[in-house]
Subunit: 477 residues, 2 copies
């Protein structure tokens, strides 16, 4: 419910709320029988006095728009305007009947709080702050004579020009050798993960993912009916031998890894281990999904060759994204793999959404080829390094022994262990109340007592205050 | 395989093809064990002499890159470069294990032919020709100071500004009353249909769709395990009583309709029948999905109020799209329905692709609000009417009694019955050979002997020649 009361208006507040709900009912947006929020909840959401809502519900009841039943709340009347009862779809049966699981409530709660946050500290959203997006550069890449006239449905694998640019890009930046026909342009890394879980796996299949892992935060693994087994992540990433063990114990059919500046731990899988992973995958014949959105965000001269760069037998599906290096709202990602797999996934994607819009593809293509891009990336990593340093100093100074963490050498996140017994949910709720947001470890499949701080989303000058605020709530619990 | 031989190059053709395949193998794009196309097929695809390919395969075999087994064709060697056999994922098991069905071969064949068509006639692709896309106007709507700096992940339902513009747009153009919180912006109508089949229905559910219908061309209905029942389409659309019959016989749980300038028949459901449909839906409590991409493409002063405009109880999920009115490559569509359903589908979409790119949403928002849009739409319908008239005259003049059809009053398509016994597949193949493409009725769930001609994709001056070419192949079969 984005609607807000207008405090400048001459219309009384209760009248505004009444009109709003009446409109929703008469437009069919709240069908017959819809359960309205409790008076307390609605008052909180709209930030008005509870008595105002009591007044509104009384009036809605008086005119016959809603019904009240003891213990079951207030519902849109099935005898609207006194007219004879008409049928209406029981939408709840449709919505709840599906196997597609909703986003975890705790994540939803944090995301909604982040959208509404004003004058607070967002250490939760895993993306860049808006001042880091190269908005002007992207716009200027559009104002170009090369703007196409042909705006038809695209090739199922995406715009050919962008695929060609990307095949040069992954060669230069990652030493990955591929051709445009083995690349699928996706709506971020997210869509690549979705396509893989939907089209290459079946309900009941066992898969291995890192523990903790971004993938645990995605109900789509559960929705697809997959059985999930964890590969513990240490300071040097996962232990390749664990893959072998899981294979023998549970016949895992696929392994999902985020080897560089892993989300949420910030760790890097060592080169030796990368080679072991590929050797095991080849020996056992199980594919590796290498999810690599942070690979280029390195604070040192170090360069980590993706597992894909050691893959000569087509065992690795490599996922890249511009979300963390350019802008998450651009929605450009890619998947590289054997041609037969890529064309199968492209076909499925075609059925789901008929492909990506041509516009972000053109923008990305122009931008990646321009000198601006290199300049942008250098400035970006420098700024992220500054923010990381500020964050680390603040954590040491303010929280000291209360937390433990390893300083990441790239990426957006710091993974912190809290050295006291704590309930994730309480901590999050207290954070929301005090306008400091962060991600609890439980979201990534970990026990209570860990948090992920994103230092990329906050301007440097606010970082210390954010840590102070966090320290406050921690000491209060 | 988009790759083509370079006939200008000094490198011999067989060497070009050899290098290409060797590269694919060494990059892992053709994993160990991959079946290569037959010599004949590859020669056809690359448009080279078959002996060239024989030569290439011989050399690949000689260096140990491929193996040949009698009766099972040529495969990438599992003993590559004489190195000890290494394992490799059996991708075929992954690709074929999924329940997600591939696009129907006949549709795929026509789409690929359309992409490669040069100097031919495309009466198959259901979209506008590129001269009708308002490319310049869209570009100029981007070059605007209102270009945003915030390129973060969007609201799960899509850009608020565009949703507000759309709620005014559907009020003005369709008399649909809604608010921004009951709109979900989608990647075309296609994604709206996908979300509905995935998130509101379960395997085994029965649904009703028009016969013939665009929906039959979508394997996603089968992939979702739905049982499909047809509602025959006459000159005035479907018969509402049939919905009731199917409900009693098969407990259908949802009805999919495309009531205005229906794809493929071009027919319009009458206003009286629209009201009957809503009355039945309310009485039985089953939802109607109203797919309406052509509603504004009317050649007469007639205006058809969508079923949604009579829906006060939230029984209709309304789908709109800019694909046929602005450009299919823009990928902007929308879904309007009860708030609880919309927010559920938005959440699922978030998991699938993390939402649409901000850029097409901004472009659409600017364009819909500009005076240019009205000008564009007027010019567009005028031009479509011209093309329809040209097409109708050509059909009468050239084919006469050989075909029967009803002239559509809007939209992009003419639905033709061929008054002789004919095999759809033969007709299509003969068409592809002779560079005239069209959609056979079987794709829309109809028996052989019907074709859909799209007059929107061909410039007016080519329409008569296209019909002549079609007449040629018809008389030859
Ligand atoms: C490891 C990882 N994979 C995938 C994604 C999805 O990103 P996008 O779809 O924006 O590329 C994220 C986003 O945070 C991530 O951290
Ligand atoms: C009836 C109908 N629905 C949906 C679509 C999908 O169109 P889009 O996703 O481009 O809006 C089409 C395309 O031809 C159509 O004809």
């Amino acid at each position: 419910m984005e609607w807000k009361v207008d405090r400048q208006s001459n219309k009384p507040l209760y009248q505004q709320v009444f009109d709003f709900i009446e409109q929703k009912i008469s437009y069919g947006e709240f069908p017959l029988g819809t359960l309205l929020p409790s008076e307390r909840k609605l008052a909180e959401r709209l930030n008005v006095n509870r008595m105002t809502i009591v007044h509104v519900y009384d009036k809605l009841h008086a005119v016959g728009l809603v019904e009240r039943k003891r213990g079951s709340g207030t519902r849109v009347s099935t005898h609207k305007w006194g007219v004879l009862s008409k049928g209406s779809t029981n939408w709840r049966r449709y919505v709840e009947g599906s196997t597609f699981l909703p986003t975890y409530p705790l994540i939803k709660r944090i995301r909604e709080a982040a959208k509404q946050l004003e004058n607070g500290f967002d250490l939760a959203s895993g993306e860049l702050s808006s001042d880091l997006f190269p908005s002007q550069l992207l716009q200027s890449s559009l104002v170009d004579e090369s703007f196409p006239n042909d705006l038809s449905y695209e090739h199922p694998q995406g715009h050919l020009g962008l695929r060609e640019t990307l095949s040069a890009y992954v060669k230069t930046n990652y030493n990955i050798k591929t051709t445009s026909s083995s690349i699928l342009i996706t709506s971020g890394a997210q869509q690549a993960l979705y396509l893989i879980t939907q089209c290459l796996l079946s309900p009941g299949d066992a898969v291995a993912i890192e523990s903790p892992s971004y993938c645990y935060s995605l109900p789509l693994f559960q929705s697809a009916g997959l059985r999930i087994f964890g590969l513990p992540v240490g300071p040097n990433g996962i232990n390749p031998k664990d893959i072998e063990d899981l294979y023998h114990k549970h016949q895992i059919r696929m392994v999902f890894l985020n080897p560089t500046y892993q989300n949420p731990t910030g760790t890097v899988l060592t080169d030796t281990r990368r080679k072991e992973v590929i050797e095991i995958a080849e020996r056992l014949g199980i594919p590796i999904v290498e999810d690599d959105p942070f690979g280029l965000l390195s604070f040192k001269e170090e360069k980590h060759s993706p597992i894909k760069s050691f893959d000569y037998n087509g065992n690795v599906l490599y996922i890249g994204s511009l979300s963390k290096v350019v802008a998450s709202g651009l929605r450009i990602g890619w998947l590289i793999g054997p041609q037969s797999v890529i064309s199968r996934l492209a076909d499925a994607r075609q059925q789901m959404d008929f492909g990506l819009s041509i516009f972000p593809q053109l923008i990305a293509n122009q931008f990646l080829q321009s000198a601006d891009y290199t300049t942008h990336r250098k400035a970006l990593t420098q700024e992220l390094l500054d923010r990381r340093n500020t964050m680390i100093s603040a954590l040491h100074e303010i929280l000291g022994e209360k937390v433990s963490f390893i300083s990441p050498n790239g990426g957006l996140h710091i993974w912190c262990k809290i050295n006291q017994k704590i309930s994730d949910e309480k901590l999050v709720e207290e954070g929301i109340k005090n306008n400091v947001l962060f991600m609890p470890g439980s979201v990534y499949g970990f026990p209570d007592g860990y948090v992920r701080f994103t230092y990329a989303r906050l301007e440097k000058k606010h970082i210390k205050d954010a840590v102070l605020r966090f320290s406050d709530i921690l000491s209060r619990i």
